[in-house]
Symmetry: C2
Subunit: 250 residues, 2 copies
DNA sequence: CGTCTGCTTGAGACATTTCAATACGCGTGG
DNA sequence: CCACGCGTATTGAAATGTCTCAAGCAGACG
């Protein structure tokens, strides 16, 4: 079964979108590209959408494309044979998907929310990569940012307590909150299962720690546990273990 | 204190080495560079050595260079304020050190063995990166490999048992063993403390698991616990949790 | 109104850590 | 050559944090 051919669901305004008005134009892999490079990219691009929960690729699948997340949120997970699963990547808009130079996906890619990708044929993209320095150097930048994020994540997985892990994740989500006003408020894009997978914990432990943080007055919940409120962000950062900023360079 | 200026210890034959005879020429960041690009790189390169145990940079230090590991082995570590430490990178010959586009080191860099780096001035390297596509695309390749390795590492930290972690690390070391013959034999480049830091465990747990693997006949030790022997590599991989290859793409 | 899915809570089991003591390898100096 | 001391590794016993298994709860939806 050709796993990588999803349903072509509506991607609304994005279908006819040209790069000039693209919401991720200035942050994605194409950010530093000039006119000629953009023309090449625009020529080979295509959009596709997936619904929340859909699998985009399984471990070992052939991925004929690379691309950028335009809208929505996807996860990368790696798993052991007995079923243990660890999330190893969380892709947000402008993040890059896929691997120039490798045809097979080393981890499962799943849409957590409804998702739209701007896709490029992998081989053509690789060719361009060897000729377009701005593209390549932007991809270097983005890969190294990802690497930094992965390394912070490793610190969390290797050394933080359950409470610190949960607080770290909540702080990460609240950082991206649309409003800066007090109290900070954000909808959780991840359910408990995905949070547990992210944090290297079980669902139950995540739930208990959220309860504990609430009991301690560090956060409040709303919307049936799907929205987090925080009156004292400093207290949350303290609970996260690493005071001061620097939880995840974006 | 300008931390990044180390002692200029002897680097022997390397001092006068030209790139053509460099031991990492075909695997390092310069692997795909052509004549003109090599000339630029050779022009800005310089060698430096550190002794085992020396600190190359602390978290937050300004790193004015990037470079490649020529000889030896270095670690990247990140730590929490209360002293907990997690290794987040293990650099072997040909691996790239530093971050084009960022001046400050986000983690501590330490020489585990005697170490020689081939260094490039960061700013000049960045400029070249925007003009030399072969350099940039090789760096993309290497960064993405590192990212894959970091993600396998995250699976280990998030989901593997202590026994699996130790077995995974031993398998990783034995894979690089000079001899392919049975029994596999390798000297551990890392002491127990560094192993514990790598694995997200305590020294005691590492020690106990090594003892357990020995008791179970999966490995043998020699040279005062500094050399590992393995008669049955398949058994070691089973103990590592992920059968079949694929522990760390190199 | 019942069922489903996702979240919470509880009690006991278990793995790893912590703290403490002991052993080993090895260079140094008597 | 042995005694000493130091850093590193091993082992033990108790403490603790997280997981496992099991039950209960809330909201969404047919």
């Amino acid at each position: 079964m050709t796993r990588y051919i999803p349903n072509f669901t509506a991607f609304g305004a994005l279908a006819s979108q040209d790069c000039a008005s693209c919401p991720i134009r200035h942050r994605a892999v194409c950010a530093k590209c000039d006119g000629a490079e953009m023309d090449h990219l625009a020529d080979m691009k295509s959009y596709r959408s997936w619904e929340a929960g859909e699998t985009i690729a399984l471990e070992g699948d052939v991925l004929p494309f690379v691309g950028s997340v335009v809208q929505g949120c996807a996860t990368l997970t790696r798993s052991l044979e007995d079923g243990r699963v660890q999330m190893v990547g969380l892709l947000m808009p402008s993040d890059f998907v896929g691997r120039p130079g490798r045809t097979v996906a080393p981890y499962e890619v799943t849409a957590v929310t409804d998702l739209t990708l701007c896709m490029f044929d992998r081989e053509r993209f690789e060719t361009l990569l060897n000729e377009a320095p701005h593209l390549a150097s932007r991809l270097v930048e983005m890969s190294l940012d990802e690497l930094d994020a992965a390394r912070d994540w490793m610190l969390l997985l290797g050394r933080k307590t359950a409470r610190e892990r949960v607080a770290t994740l909540l702080a990460l989500v609240l950082r991206r909150a649309p409003t800066d006003a007090n109290p900070l408020r954000a909808d959780l894009p991840l359910g408990r299962e995905a949070m547990a997978s992210y944090l290297g914990l079980t669902i139950e432990t995540v739930s208990r720690q959220i309860t504990a943080l609430r009991r301690d007055g560090v956060i409040r919940l709303d919307g049936g546990g799907r929205t987090v409120l925080c009156d004292d962000f400093a207290a949350l950062l303290t609970a996260a273990g690493d005071d001061e900023d620097g939880i995840m360079p974006s």
